[in-house]
Symmetry: C2
Subunit: 409 residues, 2 copies
């Protein structure tokens, strides 16, 4: 008898018919004699509906109250799922975030899990009950409802799988696994059989929406095997596990593109110690996430500093940067909003050299100019003009042998 | 500084605009320097939407899960209200049923309040915070969510008003008070300035939907002054309080009509001790609420027993009654579904005789046949043919001097 945590996202429970379909998937695992815990998101569209109402009432709604509001959606799906499972003769019982024992800090709308009190859910499992758990939510020490941020249901699933030492955490979603690239952009993209935690983490951070970043971190930390598969079609999905020898043979596992970045350049900065600290210190204080940073070689004691920020944060960043630029006597601030970040991820890069050079050559062959570069042990990112993003992704996908063979395409 | 509990029903918070309107009403009381607790229902239509989904999944959905499902609606309204109040600069904070300390038994979907732990809400009031409370819900001792049944938000409001020793509990609704009769049926119906708990209790039991029966019982028990008034128009509303000398002067306070009843007659019942006990004992066991009972004078040791049950319970009752009828050798069972119960309520009846006679004469003058009669200290009910219900109500309303004078009509 194995123990599984199965998580179903919002599109998987978006209609009554889909809830019934998910119930049949749960029934299969249950009837095979396994212990299982089911984690659910709110019905797709529900969170947006609630958000819209809150925004109509206040441009800046209170975080504590947003959590009370948004956590209502999962309560609906867990109750409905328990109702239909009971009708199928399965001993199911709904658990809210509080009841399943997810205790968090008080950072409303993006709380971090501080501990999991699994007593009650373990008791239910011992009774042969299938706990149906509200994802995305917990309570803080003051017993107020908190939520774990977008994609937080993945986190709930992984946290429970870790706490229950489950054999695996299965993330059911609307795609049949993790792909070498977004198939909407790269038609020859292939499903990966296996991907390492580290690669998955990079892919998630780079915008692959299939798994929430923090849930991958946690899965890696507690060595929880994660399977990503489709709710709507049968198949093996993608296994997210520890790195193994097979994986190292593969140079690149995935190619990503991100057009939600903007590039800011502070021109003519006096090249003195402490200037960068001043600039980025202030930006960090306002919780703006700076991604890539480049500082040009100094000329005449003046230098240019470029960095990328999420495009959504640009207005906020600009007023900040302009203030700092003035205070450090920089010449001007320039902005480029039509950029995109193209990245390649693969644990094979660790043991193979020349990957970066090959990447730059391939892009150059297509006449794509590289504006910024950043590398890590298993990742290389280039900022290019936005209009070249798709071409760059397809080029790299082919260059590094990721294209599916004829039939699949 | 007074302390008020203000309760707003589903239609009062049914749209974003109405939530904003309610927020301004709350703001008025708050700015006048009073302490207040706001109790909210779910947005109108929400409960039906959730119910419909559950019914699509199961004809007989689990009660515990129904409570998890239905309690989600109030969480939405309290969060939205707290959001808009904070925007108005008012220190508001949402409280779920659990957080406000409403502890109930485990009778899911119709739980009874066993105690109220007001510590947290009192703490909030001391801080100058306006608690925004989810009506209709509580938790049982196992920490599972329970609901208090239809109209349960009234109960939440009265329970809190009693526990906090509030100066009054104001029930805001879509009518401007308690009327002498349903104005849709009796156009000359008037708003009552004052009505006693006892009268209100009878009126509520007889189908006046303005206040939930149990909440009136509780208000009477703890002497909580209740005000019923309109969310949408200014006015004094109706005060529900202890009986006073003024009220006794009034013979009849209200006339009601109820067409949701059916009459069952067991014909040719052996007139032996214990037969009635057997019949009604079995019906009571299946939680069917028998209202009026009449037993005819015995002839040849045979008698007829008639009683009324809610029309919705008729199918269930009939199979029961037919079984019992067979077992006691009764001749047959007859059913009449086209009946209505017309009632008059007034504490003045206690001190005035002849009210019943006057009622029967008035109905007789209009040629309305009375099929069953039941009386209590402050109430007389007659069962008549359903088609005469409106006529009977208007006749009695005029006969007992309740009609509004010309201008109002």
């Amino acid at each position: 008898m194995a123990c599984y945590v199965q998580k179903f996202g919002g599109t998987s429970v978006g209609t009554i018919e889909r809830i019934q379909h998910v119930a049949r998937l749960v029934e299969q695992t249950y009837k095979a004699g396994h212990q299982l815990v089911v984690v659910l998101s709110a019905m797709s569209g529900e969170t947006d509906r609630l958000l819209k109402m809150a925004k109509e009432l206040s441009a800046d709604p209170d975080d504590r109250e947003m959590d009370v509001l948004l956590s209502s959606g999962e309560r609906v799906t867990i109750a409905l799922m328990a109702i239909v499972l009971k009708k199928l003769g399965i001993k199911a019982r709904s658990f809210t975030g509080r009841q399943v024992g997810i205790v968090t800090d008080s950072a409303h709308t993006k709380a971090r899990v501080s501990r999991v009190d699994t007593e009650r859910v373990k008791g239910a499992l011992k009774e042969g009950v299938v706990p149906i758990v509200a994802g995305f939510q917990g309570i803080n020490e003051a017993s107020d409802v908190t939520t774990l941020g977008r994609g937080g249901s993945d986190l709930t699933a992984v946290v429970l799988a870790a706490a229950l030492k489950a054999d695996s955490c299965v993330i059911y979603t609307d795609v049949d696994g993790v792909y070498t690239a977004d198939p909407n952009i790269v038609p020859l993209a292939r499903r990966l059989e296996k991907v390492s935690y580290e690669e998955m983490l990079e892919l998630a951070s780079l915008g692959a929406k299939v798994l929430q970043t923090r849930s991958v971190e946690l899965a890696a930390k507690y060595r929880v095997p994660v399977v990503v598969k489709s709710t709507f079609q049968d198949g093996p999905g993608t296994l997210v596990v520890e790195e193994d020898a097979d994986m190292e043979q593969v140079l690149v596992s995935g190619v990503t593109g991100d057009r939600h970045q903007a590039k800011v350049t502070v021109v003519g900065v006096p090249d003195q110690p402490g200037i960068a600290a001043k600039l980025f210190g202030q930006i960090a204080q306002s919780s703006i996430n700076v991604d890539m940073i480049i500082q040009n070689v100094s000329q005449d004691s003046l230098t240019d500093i470029s960095f990328t920020v999420p495009r959504a944060d640009l207005p906020r960043s600009m007023s900040l940067v302009q203030d700092v630029a003035k205070s450090i006597n920089a010449r001007s601030v320039e902005v480029n909003e039509t950029i995109a970040k193209v990245s390649m991820v693969g644990v094979g890069m660790r043991s193979h050299s020349g990957v970066a050079a090959q990447m730059f050559q391939a892009l150059s062959r297509e006449g794509i100019n590289i504006m910024m570069i950043s590398t890590s042990e298993i990742k290389i990112s280039c900022v290019v003009e936005e209009k070249y993003m798709e071409l760059a992704m397809r080029t790299l996908h082919q260059e590094f042998g990721l294209d599916a063979s004829g039939i699949k395409a």
